[in-house]
Symmetry: C2
Subunit: 364 residues, 2 copies
DNA sequence: TTGAAAGCGGTACCAT
DNA sequence: ATGGTACCGCTTTCAA
């Protein structure tokens, strides 16, 4: 930032007041739409304001009222259709309720997220909607609570924080998928996510700090255990952050002697990458490997084969979180609420039953 | 909005000053990072600030400095991958330069856009990036200029406005596509866009108020004329706003006696819809109809057939507009610049040459 | 109904 | 280097 900006020469209440021949207070009353004013004075002021092309300074207003009329939103990645759709839901509701949205991108990076929250707080947003990158790293969110500003957690919860939360039933969704795959004879099922640990290895769900993904992995492993499959932890693959990462992981899995017969992609971006990689590798879906992806991205129905997906009510996720926040902003004072939106398994053509001549699974 | 919000009880410079045993001015100096302070005092103030958990009030700061450190962005539809990618480019650059982004959605509606701009101006954003819904309707943008705040137009220009503009070479792109199609024997080529006129009929490019689309249509018609094709205006179809609209338009075109042999979709959302509709209608791409879409959306390479697209440097479009704006914010003072980013025709498999037994075209 | 004046939480100028 | 103080543009008592 550079110090040179033509000093603010905008017309103020005082200017309007002077022109209308009334006091600043009176002008402010009609301009701000509060208090009581006579019709004659109102007209005079309105006229003067129009003549001067008066524009209220929302900043100054916020200073005295303590409300800025803005909602701060922190998402992981706007480019991801999941978030852009959710953001659409948020902004629609926000606008309806008279709020403006300040959008920031954390890039799924806790440090960036921390900075974003600080900025938002400094700008005195009235409330926040956050999709925390890591549940383990939420001290900055406690700061938010300390300021007394309402906050809603989107897609990723936090047990300890005690704030309104809107999530999808990721656990159930993962369980459904896994049951479906196991029923189809699959035994080597990979779960692929962008989440990561320092050593890129999965040991326990508690390592996974992104709430929604942790719940899915828990569901996945739970059903596996239920079905008597052991050591499925090895099939949880982390760090599919970029297209290259995904390519490396998927290629090494698929070319290994014990290749998975099914892959679950944790979001539609990864799902698409897997799809492309398989095609480039000459691996046919679902003949050679089955694919299920989270998020019913619009393209998933037009590929060949069409992709079996978990349909998440993403727009509603955004809508609901904004609604909860607006309620708080309007004085709602009850205990923290946790809203779980239903998902649905959309079976299309990317999953097939495993061939019975798969000898390595003869025991089944 | 409701009047009840716990009056702002945050700790201020004065509080910190009191605790550190210095004057408000001195405390402000270290907290604001300006002026000169002795190390001892700096430490004392810093300590007090930490102890009190002081958070600067950016609103108050903005009031006096006249700069808010925010950039206002108005796009047509964040849900559209085109815009979400562009916004990503904007926010990346903005953050780097120390600015926060306020994002608003116009829904391609001039009234909403007008309101958004007014709000942004009232919030005293330092500058704006706008993707005007209609070039014909830009009075509210003149207001922006009048305030002296820099503005950059994204993807859609305006001849009359005289502000920095970043667009893709839509005209050339359309010309390339059209030439390619005509060379392939196509004579009935439909151009499908969400833009609309009151009576949903296309008469002249000047009817089209979305700059990027108008330039494309001009390019399309220009090459058609050049090739001796007349009356191609009839093939410009407007109003593909929702999936239903698109379905109606495409279905009626494709089932008419004189069906188009090629369709150009004005964005990837429409392109995807066309793809789906054809499939549902049992119309095979490219055997029965060729398809070219604007915007190299990530899914376009995985469909069968893969879709031939115009690759637009969307992220760079966002980046560049943000860069131009930041330059202005830093005092750059030259004449308005118009940056045109190159596009590229990515030929994949959704276009085929027209069969020579197409009798209606025997003259060719 | 209207006006005067005291803030809101900073910044910045002018002394000291 | 530090302190005193007048703003920024608006809201909001409190009196008149």
């Amino acid at each position: 930032m550079d110090p040179t900006l033509p000093r603010n020469n905008s017309v103020t209440v005082a200017d309007v007041a002077r022109m209308a021949g009334v006091s600043k207070a009176t002008a402010a009353r009609v301009l701000g739409g509060y208090g009581t004013v006579s019709d004659r004075v109102r007209d005079a002021v309105t006229l003067a304001a129009r003549a001067l092309n008066y524009r209220p300074n929302e900043l100054a207003r916020s200073m005295t009222t303590g409300r800025s009329g803005t909602i701060g939103v922190v998402v992981g990645d706007i480019e991801n259709p999941f978030f852009s759709l959710a953001v659409r839901g948020i902004t629609d509701i926000a606008r309806q309720a008279g709020f403006t949205v300040i959008l920031t991108n954390s890039g799924e990076n806790p440090e960036t997220e921390k900075a974003a929250v600080r900025t938002l707080l400094a700008k005195r947003v009235d409330g926040l909607i956050v999709s925390p990158a890591k549940e383990s790293d939420v001290d900055h969110l406690k700061d938010v609570i300390r300021t007394g500003r309402p906050m809603v957690l989107l897609d990723r919860g936090s047990r300890t924080l005690g704030v309104d939360t809107v999530v999808a039933d990721d656990g159930h969704a993962a369980e459904n998928i896994t049951r479906r795959l196991i029923a189809g004879g699959h035994r080597r099922i990979a779960y692929l996510t962008a989440c990561d640990t320092p050593d890129h290895c999965f040991r326990a769900p508690s390592d996974i700090s992104t709430g929604s993904v942790r719940r899915r992995i828990e569901g996945f492993l739970h059903v596996c255990r239920e079905a008597g499959l052991s050591e499925m932890d090895q099939w949880v693959r982390l760090g599919a952050l970029t297209q290259d990462d995904t390519k490396n992981i998927v290629t090494s899995m698929l070319t290994a002697p014990q290749a998975p017969t099914a892959i679950i992609a944790s979001d539609s971006v990864i799902g698409l990458d897997v799809f492309k990689i398989c095609r480039n590798l000459g691996i046919e879906i679902p003949r050679d490997v089955s694919l299920v992806s989270f998020h019913d991205a619009d393209w998933t129905s037009v590929t060949s084969p069409a992709v079996t997906v978990v349909r998440q009510p993403v727009y509603q996720l955004g809508e609901t979180s904004a609604k909860l926040l607006v309620e708080r902003l309007n004085g709602e004072n009850g205990p923290p609420r946790r809203i779980v939106l239903q998902t649905e398994l959309l079976e299309r053509a990317s999953v097939s039953d495993v061939e019975t001549n798969d000898l390595s699974m003869a025991s089944e």
